[in-house]
Amino acid sequence: MREQMPIGVTITRITEESPSIRTFTFDQEIPFNPGQFVMVWVPGVDEIPMALSATDAITVQKVGDATAALFSLGVGDQIGIRGPFGNGFAVTGRTLAVGGGIGVSPLHPLATAGLVDVFLLGARSAEDLIFADRLAETTTLFTATDDGSAGHHGFVTDLLGRIDPIDFDHICVCGPEVMMRAVLGILERHGCTDRGQFSLHRYMKCGIGICGSCCTDPGGLRVCRDGPVFTGDRLIASEFGHYTRDASGQRKNL
């Protein structure tokens, strides 16, 4: 067992992507594969999993204590980073990305690496469609908003209905689990669940596959270590889209 203490990084830039989403750029590059995540230590508060949205950045939606504490930090403040952990996306050939809300975060470095051909991006409204400009530079971007304030008026899954998934070797997906389950359903109908790569969120404590808090039913797959990216065929008969667990290990329906 090799030592892997958190490294200390200093925040060098904070970008307000939307009222509830900020990108924190720091002073060190972390070599990673798009889709891998780090454990972000907010000193005195907690440590939480976050995808790397770039080699030196995380993009965070404020949802609770630790993310609020992150939002209270400024340029020059320090945070701790452990990782990168997990498998990340694995693509070759034609790739479609489907991101919903903050789920665009792990897909962003895949796109900026030039590995995404078509990108379907959904959010509640125009202001939540983050990274859209940059994604449009390297991918063919289609957007959807719940309120119709930009792009297609409706769900990002609607956009998928207009595309033939079979045209793509890989379909990389990250977003709310209900949305991801809907995408999986579409792939199932096309008989290509194995082309889907879904990045899951589960409650994580260790990030290194030992504590058990992120294990999923029925296979006992560890999201932090065996994932966070799983192909659709491994998710089809699972808890995915149905329930998850909280910090104590109790089931919570989605």
Binding site: E3, P6, P43, G44, I210, S213, G220
Partner: protein, 295 residues
Amino acid sequence: MVTLKPGPINVGGLRLNNHLLLAAGILGTTGASLARILASGAGGVVTKSIGPEPKAGHHGPCVVTVDGGVLNAMGLPNPSSGFTRELEAIRGQPVVVSIFGGNPEEFATVAGWFAGNAAGFELNVSCPHAAGYGAALGSDPAIVEACTRAVSRLGLPTWVKLTPNVTDIAECGRAAQRGGATAIVAINTLKAMRISTALRRPVLGNTFGGLSGPAVFPVAVRSVYDLYEACSIPIVGCGGITTADNVVEMMMAGASAVEIGSAVMDDIGIFATIAGDLYAPDGEDPAGIVGCAHA
């Protein structure tokens, strides 16, 4: 290398598929995950420690890896009685339910919930980083005895897991034996901590935690050896095991079976790997190995 004859074994009232159990708190929060480890070659599994109330555990960081080991302060997160439903998927298999409480009554209450579907209990009187639980009780032999008695009374196999963070672990072993333990498990983690020099503060959310992994193996072997001299009930060795030779060494120190935790991190197939090295049709009778290093 010494190899052992394969086959099921009986230890401390339990029948196990081989000598290798999953240690408590390692991938032990869900039935599915325990089933995965059983399917991967473990002879038995110990669950996450379950207590009287659901607990979210300590704030993070909860785990960091260090040179030759793992440092953790999970804070005993557990779903409490809700865990009964996790056991449904693995009913009838060699599943030891690890339990904790703040006093003998709480131990008895928690054990009661699982009396129907646990093959046996492991009493956690040894976690070094949960105020009011674990080692807070386990360093007092009288309390160890009382908690053990409260559970052993139920008539199910009762293993008691001890802490090495005491002046004399043998005294705690004798207390567990007096309380009716059917086996002693040694060791839980060593009380330890690290500081982030970058952030100038303890790295664990809880400040203190427990050290496990190869770093503690020599301490675990010594503890098992001490206990073997002091007690007459079987001992289950735990702490830092990563190889079949480590298993043999623990058995020579006096262990009748072993638990493996941190090594799962580097290789989730560790049970099959070790079993492959440890067992051979022409292997020795395991009974002849147990405690053979004692003069």
